[in-house]
């Protein structure tokens, strides 16, 4: 790279509610309505309604429309993975982030420098989305949701086996799986199917629309039935997917004495699981764990690491001990829906 090129932070920087690219005059994942937004993925702390123009993968656009309505942005422009677009001389490209369906990293090149804003991402395999693709860069913007060395996620397949094992051990109890309704829920269904479970899986109302969208976009999830209108007795001993907040909610009373399971990277820590009254913790995450995070940061060969949200204190400190330049961006409002 040309050493005389202006430093990346002179043209790409955080503005409180997102990251702004000055020469391109666009934001990435802004927290408030802006004229031009590039959206990494459909989670609500990254994709918000009300932008004038949105650039994203077509899947992310579909997800935004389901969540916020067809007209939740003035205009949508899909950008295919790998295709490059020129915005006022800034080259922008989307590459898979492996986080959820449609999730992408934003690769931005200007004045001989390259920055990658990765959004949320993971390296572990996920049959419901394209795998993370590594792009070397000068500045790598990363999340730090699980940036502590205690976080090492299990293989999702292992946790699916654990769930099926519990179903066999407790054939009379309904298993409520609390899982975030975009991404985690559909991934859990898919891995449970891959583990050989072919009975109908029941859905809480709050997860129906996005799950149907996944199916429409070609993710095979097997037979799904709504909880609403189904006799609770017929769900006994079966799997019910619901948002985590429904686990201890009045809604869950219909199941009598269910097994409360929760699929999240946070379940790695027993205290968190106990606090939430979880009986069956499933350590499944759509974010990088600590080893993957460090590995990724190193592989990008980035001179500077910018940390958006999560345990940025630990990550910045550790990268410092490795002799890497790292800084926390202190963005507002990220991570609210992280897992």
């Amino acid at each position: 790279m040309i050493s005389l090129a202006p430093p990346v932070d002179s043209w790409l920087y955080p503005v409180g509610s997102g990251i702004y690219c000055e020469p391109g005059d666009f934001y990435i994942d802004p927290g408030r309505a802006v004229d031009r937004a590039v959206i990494t993925h459909g989670h609500s702390d990254h994709a918000r309604a009300g932008h004038r123009a949105v650039l994203a993968t077509s899947e992310t656009i579909e997800i935004m429309k389901v969540r916020y309505g067809e007209d939740c942005a003035g205009a949508f422009q899909p950008l295919a993975i790998g295709e490059t677009i020129d915005i006022n001389g800034v080259k922008v490209r989307l590459v898979p982030a492996g986080h959820i369906l449609g999730s992408a990293q934003v690769v931005i090149e200007w004045a001989g420098r390259r920055a990658v804003v990765s959004g949320d991402y993971k390296r572990a395999s996920d049959p419901t989305c394209a795998p993370f693709e590594l792009v070397t860069c000068d500045v790598f913007v990363t999340e730090a949701t699980f940036a502590l060395p205690v976080f090492r996620h299990e293989k999702a397949q292992h946790e699916a086996e654990k769930l099926l094992s519990s179903l066999r051990a407790e054939p009379d109890r309904t298993h409520l799986i609390g899982a975030y309704n975009l991404g985690k829920c559909q991934r859990m269904i898919r891995v449970v199917r891959d583990a050989g479970y072919d009975k109908p899986i029941y859905l809480h109302g709050a997860v129906v629309a996005l799950t149907e969208l996944y199916q429409k976009l070609g993710v095979d999830l097997g037979e799904l039935l709504p909880v609403a209108g189904t006799d609770p007795k017929s769900m006994r001993g079966g799997i019910v997917m619901c948002p985590p907040s429904a686990l201890g909610d009045r809604w869950s009373r219909r199941f009598g004495d269910p097994v409360n399971a929760f699929a999240s990277g946070w379940m790695r820590v027993r205290g968190r699981a106990r606090q939430l009254g979880v009986e069956l913790p499933l350590v499944v995450s759509d974010h990088v764990d600590w080893p993957e995070l460090i590995q990724t940061v190193i592989e990008t060969e980035a001179e500077e690491i910018w940390v958006t949200h999560g345990r940025e204190d630990a990550l910045v400190h550790y990268l410092g001990t490795l002799g890497r330049k790292a800084r926390a961006l202190a963005l507002v409002g990220y991570g609210e829906e992280a897992e």
Partner: protein, 634 residues
Amino acid sequence: MRAFARLLDCLVYTQSRNRKVALLGHYFRTAPDPDRGWALSALTDGVPIRLPLRRMLSDLVTRFIDPTLYRLSRDYVGDTAETVALLWPDDRSVLPPAPPVGGEQHTWGDGEKEKPKQLALDLTPTPNPSPQGGGVRGEGQTEAPSNVAAPHPNPLPVKDGERERASLLPSTGRGRGWGDLGHNSGEPPELSLGAVIDAMADGTTAERTERLGRLLDQLDATGRWALLKLIGGAPRVGVSARLARTALAESYARDVSEIEEVWHALEPPYLELFQWLDGKAERPDPGAKPVFRPVMLAHPIEEEDWPRLSPEDFSAEWKWDGIRVQVAARGGDVRMFSRQGDDISGAFPEIRSAFQGHDCVVDGELLIMRDDKIAPFNDLQQRLNRKSVTAKMMSSYPPHVRLYDLLFDGEEDLRGLSFSERRLRLEAWYAKHHPRLTDVSELVPFKSFDELGVLWSSARAEGIEGLMLKRRASPYQAGRVKGEWFKWKRAALTLDCVLMYAQRGSGKRSSYYSDYTFGVWRTDENGERQLVPVGKAYSGFTDEELLELDKWIRGHTTETFGPVRAVEPELVFEVAFDAVQESTRHKSGVAMRFPRIHRIRWDKPAAEADTLDTVLRIVGGGAAQNSAAPSDLV
């Protein structure tokens, strides 16, 4: 270690008592000796190993983890054992290699991020020659190769049949578990609890630190966590010592008192106890050691009991507000036990020394006594739940045992005698021996229950909780025997309090807001009235009322903090309680003892609830003449 790890891991997430008992019972019946005995020890009195564990772990962990990262991790996880278990590498050969370090004793070297090159394992004399021995690590592995450690160069022997025992789950499905799969885990290699105890039992701290590191290397995250719980003192997995003993008794269809009677004469790993339970030996004989004898308890007296009782059949005593204890002295040793059979002598060396040289088992009430006056229960609490005690605590909170009964005089078991006979023996024994820091509970003479009722209703002196009625003819029997002993608690006090916060319950109540924090009005320096919390209650209402309360709380929430909701200050509870104590935990400076919801006052305006001034007037229970009227509760 595998079965034990799975047991602890399942217990952590299990709310139901019956499921816990099933899990424990299954483990005790299937785990080998001496492992099950060590497990029992860990879950009850703790294994008899003293280690500077925190320091050892910090030493080990900071060899490969930056100290700041370790601190941040521990702060996040909140538990040292779990933090170390989670961040310990599953395979340390993936860590950046370091140059080999000289020195025979060196195993991992002293630098950071060192590779454990060909550790020399000094724990076991002989490696297991069987093919299974080397292969245990891979068995049942579902992990990708990158997470699978290579078989240990020198694995610990695997006991025959270990793998068959690996599944903790009873096939009936009574106990909950995850079959072959643990939390955070692939399959751990098999390491016996006995080997862990042996490795930690002796040696210098430095030697034991090295051994601990090698043990942790052989386990997966759940195994490491369980190992540290095994040797780290109270494992905090939601099982009390009594529940562990109860589960053991139940799984062998025995009464828990049969175990309790010999418990304190036994030592981990309790081989003779399991021999007896397995029907291979007689019950162990406590011999010349002081042991716990199951305590006789009283029923609360009910209105319908009175007509059936004759005053001449009963003795009465004051019911003192301390904790019920049993002191057993024999063979130069003295133990004091709680009602549940837990040995609490460690925290009360004065009592041990007062009974030194005696040979007896007495039943009494443990109190704090200053200048012949009983101190509030709160003072006693300062000395409970401690393993040891400071000189300052001993002088600030001097203990005293008020004697109720004599169960053994020397070798002679008096429990078959009537209460009246035992009482005479107690008085005679006391006249002869009068151990320090004790007195004998006085009998309250009465001719009729009416006469006793007058005494009962006027009794509000410090430390008196009510009256005890004991049938003169009653032998001393374990447990709550019907019709023999009654407790007649003095009338509860009640106050009108305002609901402030509601918290979700646990287990079956997890979808209900069933734990209530309530307060009374205080006028602050600006003359404004605000609520200050005085207590928390989760009982005293019916299931229907719980439904109504839950609905009300959801409709009147002002703020939500995790499982807790703050509500509009509008709903009045008539709260019944036994006493009010000073407390630093509540903003009001006071806390209620045994509060329960007496009535839900849907009708009462919150502004008319009681004030803090009213509460302060009844601190210590001394004043009966106040607006906190004795209720009609018994």
